[in-house]
Symmetry: C2
Subunit: 324 residues, 2 copies
């Protein structure tokens, strides 16, 4: 099980390979939100999302002879790119199983990072089954997207950075908002902050219609989403919280915040104009929560922007929305 | 005259107020350029450009009673915003003289940062004269955009960061490309790197038709641009190098690199898709130079992206260009 020692070890393995993303802010955003907002832009991480942290953590921890046989992963996109690049930089091969309706840019980028991409039908095929079969056939190690202690430990390194950066600013109390799919990122961040910034409260943020984590935290048991596709927030629409991540979130997180797609797009537009960063809708739900759902949050909010792999057409929608 | 001691002093005054921007990279950009490219995204600086550094440096160095009377500045936009916010954070008033044809977003933002904005006609009025008159009338201190040692020292703090970040990556030889208008930024960066990274060669980058610095370095005397407006790269189209900056650039810089507007827009698009940052065309000329004018450059290039205050319509042009 992931603990702070595992996160510290992951950080040591990631040192010199992962980017320390800055903490950004804008008086214009503070004004909209009526509180201080800081943004941790993990869209600036290698491969455009925090996923590179967990991928590096998992691959770097493998025994050399196991690692040499290669890795396999299944992902709607950002985990795919993280694993593909981390594998390439370790000099090993990777197979990535992706839904056929994933954004074009993510499929192309994953291939460009050197991975072999296997597409599947999200509605009719079981990606876990495909993954298990391929990994048995070729001796590949499966790098799970979130329900894996080493991956959670890697994501937690972003939490260590948040704790340090907040301390530099003299912040000892804050709500930390994290875009949440399966819960690997928020679990790692929550564990890191539990140890390093105990005055912080972490909240999962999700798009309407895909609020499985928020509902699960409320009911106290794992709840599923009805739909499993069809959101602009494609990066974070996993079916349900993980078996490993749910107990961590239950223990450590405050209530979830749910935003509309429209609010996520507005946050993408404001991140463009006010922070000069490129965020994808799923990666912008925490910023949207900070901007438009401040009720129940304190004076200081740290919103993680988790990824920036957005199709230009969707980005145009966000620019249009802002002009309207 | 600015020297490394002044830059170090500026850094001490800026500590805790200026953002340390990271060093970004992408294997996709390296492939286009055929060499390693690192990007210093000063678009992520407060107010969306490096100008905040120089403004803070100048204002923080004033005697308290002089500072209390307020400051004045003239600028095509980014210097305006830097001075306006630095003044506001010091609790003093600012008057900003701006060309009437500056991008709307820059005028609006400057007002929103609390400055009084005075517009002038770029073709028929002399901004220096207006500035001198207002500053005499109201007892304001003029914060010059580039030809001012304290401003140059502030901009040089970005050079200190580049030297440290490159050293962490084990880089001891590189070409450093800097978008150049009047030459304040590149002068500060060159002075910092002369002291801290003597293996680096700094090159000014400019848009076609506004290559006064490149021509001046070649001829050995100050050359003027024929046109003084009408470029998408509005941030860096000053009429000629400064009297203080030109000798510094002559002594320390390698030859300039000139790019087309089209190349600058392509660089804006690639910064969007590959680095997840928002860069304005004038701020992207160094990245364009690294990507499309590598002849004469070495294996490792550090391109500064100096600003990100771009109108959404211009950003759409860059997205369209990329799709084409």
């Amino acid at each position: 099980m992931t603990d702070i020692a595992m996160i510290e070890s992951a950080r040591a393995r990631l040192a010199g390979h992962v980017r320390r993303t800055p903490l950004l802010s804008s008086p214009f955003l503070d004004e909209i939100a009526g509180r201080r907002i800081f943004v941790k832009p993990e869209c600036l991480q290698h491969t455009g999302s925090f996923k590179f942290r967990g991928a590096w953590s998992a691959i770097s921890a493998l025994e050399p002879d196991v690692r040499a046989r290669g890795v396999i992963a299944f992902s709607s996109g950002n985990h795919a790119q993280g694993v593909a690049l981390a594998a390439k930089l370790h000099g090993i091969s990777s197979v990535i199983i992706m839904p056929a309706d994933a954004p074009r840019i993510k499929i192309e980028n994953t291939r460009a990072y050197g991975a072999e991409v296997v597409l599947y039908d999200r509605a009719n095929e079981d990606r876990d089954e495909i993954g298990a079969r391929l990994s048995a056939e070729r001796g590949l190690t499966l790098v799970k997207p979130f329900d894996e202690p080493l991956v959670i430990a890697g994501q937690g390194t972003a939490g260590l950075e948040i704790a340090e950066q907040a301390a530099e600013l003299g912040i000892d109390k804050a709500d930390v908002l994290v875009p949440t799919g399966g819960g690997g990122f928020i679990s790692g961040v929550s564990l890191a902050l539990e140890a390093k910034a105990p005055g912080f409260t972490v909240h999962p943020c999700e798009p309407q219609g895909f609020d499985d984590v928020t509902r699960s935290l409320k009911s106290g048991r794992i709840e599923r989403n009805d739909r499993q596709s069809g959101s602009l927030c494609d990066a974070i629409i996993t079916p349900q919280p993980g078996n490993i991540t749910f107990p961590i979130m239950s223990k450590l997180c405050g209530p979830g915040v749910v935003v509309t797609e429209d609010e996520a797009l507005k946050a993408v537009g404001l991140a463009f104009s006010r922070l000069k960063i490129v965020v994808e809708p799923g990666g912008a739900v925490a910023l949207a929560a900070a901007l438009f759902h401040g009720e129940g949050l304190g004076d200081t909010v740290i919103a993680v922007c988790s990824g920036g792999n957005i199709d230009p057409d969707v980005f145009r929608m966000a620019l249009d929305q802002q002009a309207a």
